[in-house]
């Protein structure tokens, strides 16, 4: 194994007029080093002006998503040795505006997420004093997979539909809507469907499937979206057949 590997890191300063471009850094190639370790080495030893987000280093916080050799990855889970002999390209997540260097602006997602009401909605007036909502292991299993989302934005970076049409509400938001729909304690499916039945909702998706492939937590947003389409279509047919019925 070589002692070093070249990292080609995208740099961009908002106060400079030049477009983003790569800068090359030689970092030690160690078996246990991830792309994030390489970036931290650059920041500590080579160039302290480099900006990037990170926190937990163990695939839980969802902060360190970047495009590594063109693939959206958590940089803490992408090992440098897998890209040897290099060079390894490190770019900001695709489809998002760049704030600086590898830092992206995800405010678009932050505006979209509350639209699908990702919280438990109840019709009754039960308060904490009345006790907890009980749930069987089977009821937990129904939605658990979709609850693993860490909002890392890899699915948005992988989705060509979101790249072409930023109005598309996107994979993670729909997966989280499905997470609450499938929750036995929740009664808000109807309210979420009103948002997701629109063109920018589930119908924007053309089932490329890349969101599911890149998801580091195996959430399978593509499946959530297709299941929502079935729900939306069933609802439309019902509304057509029973126009006066209670929807």
């Amino acid at each position: 194994m070589d002692d070093n590997i070249t990292m080609r890191v995208t740099r961009w300063r908002p106060d400079k007029s030049s477009p983003p471009g790569p800068a090359e850094y030689e970092v030690p190639l160690r078996k246990e080093w991830t792309v994030l370790d390489g970036l931290n080495h650059i920041k500590d030893q080579l160039d302290q002006t480099l900006a990037f987000r990170w926190s937990c280093r163990m695939g839980i916080c969802g902060s360190c998503g970047m495009n590594v050799n063109g693939e959206p990855r958590l940089s803490c889970g992408a090992f440098l040795s897998d890209y040897a002999p290099g060079p390894v390209d490190v770019e900001p997540l695709a489809n998002f505006p760049i704030v600086r260097d590898l830092v992206i602006d995800m405010s678009d997602f932050m505006e979209k997420l509350p639209q699908v009401k990702p919280w438990i909605i109840r019709d009754d007036d039960v308060t904490a004093v009345d006790g907890e909502y009980l749930q069987t292991p089977e009821e937990l299993d129904a939605y658990k997979q979709f609850s693993m989302c860490i909002n890392c934005m890899l699915c948005y970076a992988a989705c060509p539909v979101y790249g072409l049409d930023p109005d598309f509400i996107g994979p993670a938001a729909i997966a989280l809507a499905e997470r609450y729909d499938l929750d036995s304690r929740d009664g808000g499916a109807r309210e979420r469907l009103d948002v997701l039945i629109e063109h920018e909702g589930v119908w924007g998706c053309t089932f490329v499937g890349e969101c599911t492939r890149v998801c580091p937590k195996h959430v399978d947003p593509a499946a959530a979206i297709q299941r929502y389409k079935v729900k939306a279509a069933t609802q439309s047919v019902k509304a057509f057949l029973l126009p006066r019925g209670r929807r």
Partner: protein, 129 residues
């Protein structure tokens, strides 16, 4: 807080050539044109049959012209792509519960091919009997 505008990267026209999965996706979208072509082709054939022998023979001449044969071969290839990818996606979209247990994706996939084989066999029988 910074007042600088974030940088929006332009999307290349050739983004769909960057990855195999993107290319396959665009080809699958394109395949819908060929599905439509076969529908029109079938409707034209049925109309020709309805108009009698000479009309049908004119249609056969049209259908056997080299250009139409080439189009049909290409269209058939796209149709195969359409069917295979569509079938492959179904298990993700369908959650079928039998006796409280989820039917595995492979079983859903296999049942679609069995269904296709049965329908195809029926059509072959109908045409050749």
């Amino acid at each position: 807080m910074s007042t600088y505008a974030p940088y929006r990267r332009p999307l290349s026209t050739w983004w769909w050539l960057r990855k195999r999965s993107y290319f396959l996706f665009v080809m699958r979208e394109l395949s819908s044109i060929f599905v439509a072509w076969f529908v029109v082709f079938l409707l034209v054939m049925i109309t020709a049959v309805g108009r009698g022998r000479s009309s049908y023979e004119t249609f056969l001449d049209f259908a056997s012209s080299p250009a139409v044969v080439v189009i049909n071969v290409v269209a058939a290839a796209f149709l195969v792509l359409h069917v295979v990818t569509w079938f492959a996606l179904t298990p993700q979209a369908m959650v079928i519960q039998v006796g409280g247990r989820r039917v595995p994706g492979a079983a859903i996939l296999a049942s679609q091919y069995v269904g296709l084989a049965v329908v195809s066999a029926f059509v072959v029988w109908l045409v050749t009997r």
